[in-house]
């Protein structure tokens, strides 16, 4: 199983003017890993949930939250 978000530790200079963000992240949503969608993937229980999520298939669902509110910068 893959993760939808990757973290890395950029180089930090002793002379950086701003307080460094030690951990940075980027999104790796599910379509990057599926290739060609296989037939008969499990679907959401209700049409209502599928409409809400924007996809019929949980395998394609990509949650997203503001990284500054997620607290990524704290290790």
């Amino acid at each position: 199983m893959f993760t939808q978000r990757k973290y890395y530790y950029p180089y930090i200079s002793p002379f950086d003017p701003c307080r460094p963000i030690e951990v940075k992240s980027y999104e790796t949503p599910p379509q990057l890993y599926i290739g060609f969608q296989p037939p008969s993937l499990p679907q959401y229980e209700s049409p209502k949930e599928a409409l809400y999520r924007g996809t019929l298939w949980p395998a394609l669902y990509s949650p997203y939250r503001n990284p500054y509110e997620r607290g990524d910068e704290q290790q």
Partner: protein, 189 residues
């Protein structure tokens, strides 16, 4: 910083004066998918991409400048001894009026280069995918120019440049795989 080697990456030979071909080839000089756009795109994106692929963008961006220099040499040789009349016949009358034989960063239609040809989205996946697309578009452009050219010496250089697009595309695809790997997974206690 850069060191300069006073030679071309691959030798450029042009058999005949052909300003018409220069008009088409300028697409790879100052066009949307040309070498200038490629170099500036990669050398700018590299600041905000994860450390593991910065070096790749630096190396390929640098090589694109070497390609730009080859294209410039080709265009220069194709036009340098053309008369004003020959420039006009080749569809370069407007270029001649504005620039004489000087090269300029515009595309085959004479539209000047613009920074909106390149992107830096800041999202590593989006940026690398743009780079892959740019390499494929440049490869296609080389193909269309080779299709219109009957100069075997010039085509030799163009086929070399087309091959470099193929290699760069694979390197960027590998970079996408590196970005997708789990090895930097955040450890949660």
């Amino acid at each position: 910083m850069w060191y300069y080697e006073k030679k071309l990456q691959y030798p450029v030979k042009v058999r005949e004066c052909n300003p018409r071909l220069a008009k088409y080839l300028i697409e790879q000089y100052g066009g949307a998918d040309g070498e200038l756009a490629a170099a500036l795109r990669y050398l700018n994106q590299r600041y905000t991409i994860p450390d593991k692929v910065i070096g790749l963008l630096t190396d390929i961006g640098t090589e694109e400048f070497a390609h730009l220099e080859m294209i410039a040499t080709m265009v220069y040789k194709l036009t340098k001894d053309a008369t004003a009349e020959q420039m006009k016949e080749a569809g370069l009358g407007a270029h001649y009026a504005n620039h004489d034989k000087a090269l300029f960063y515009n595309n085959a239609g004479g539209v000047p280069w613009t920074a909106s040809y390149i992107q830096a989205k800041g999202d590593p996946i989006a940026d690398i995918y743009e780079d892959i697309a740019a390499e494929e578009k440049a490869r296609a452009t080389y193909q269309w120019i080779i299709n219109m050219s009957d100069d075997p010496d010039l085509n030799d250089g163009l086929k070399y440049l087309r091959e470099r697009e193929v290699v760069h595309s694979l390197r960027f695809r590998e970079a996408a795989e590196i970005l997708k790997e789990e090895r930097d997974k955040k450890i949660i206690f």
